[in-house]
Amino acid sequence: MTGTTGPDQGGPRGSPGPRPGGAGAAAVAGGVARQGGTEPDARFTFANERTFLAWSRTGLALIVAGLGIVQLLPPFPGVPWGRHLIGVPLIVLGAIVAVAGYVEWVRNQRALRSGKPVPRSFLPVILTVTIAAIAVISAVVLLLSAAR
């Protein structure tokens, strides 16, 4: 480990603005996250990889939670579609989170390479809004079921 401990010391070498077509094709061949810039501190690369893995596990957990609700829970009395109403959004959210986690990993790695600030993550907002919506749906299903 040398004295350079931050990507900010690498300097922004990534070319801003539109990329020429030839460079884009080469970047696809050489890996989607290795476009321009310099190799960042290994620790940042590791941290980015762990973040991706954490989102992957989150997605997997959401999918299996949705599956469990629809398949293993007994039906809500009087609300036959209640389990699907709660479980299906969870499954869809899980699949979206897994793919979005990869997209964010690519964006973060590019930012690290070019020494730019890491872009703002949109995943927490998606996760929060969807889970809050599922909570409201769950409450409505439970109330409808209790009213019967």
């Binding site: 992957s56 596990r57 997997l60 007994p74 499954i91 699949a95 897994a98 990869y102």
Partner: protein
Amino acid sequence: MPLSDDPEDRDPGLAEERTRLAWVRTAISFAAVGIAVLKVDVPLGVTVVAMVPFIWLAGRRVAWHAPHGENQPRLLLLIALGIAAIGVVVLVLTLTRGNSPGFHPPHG
């Protein structure tokens, strides 16, 4: 290089170890999810469990200093798409299975 107070500067291997452990956690998650899915759909459960050795091996690459992470974006893309595919299959299962009676533990 002046001796830093940050233990990460003295032992950068800690970041590597954390990453290795994150891969192991991910492999264990796949195993747990696969076994849970076996209860609902055997082929899908077997598929998910079959993915475990690949995730685990991907984590070993970190320890071996073999190409990983940034140098192997396709592996991460495959994992993301694999989870999305599991989600799509699970979605189709839940929408086509009709109304499941739910899981009733045996009375003992």
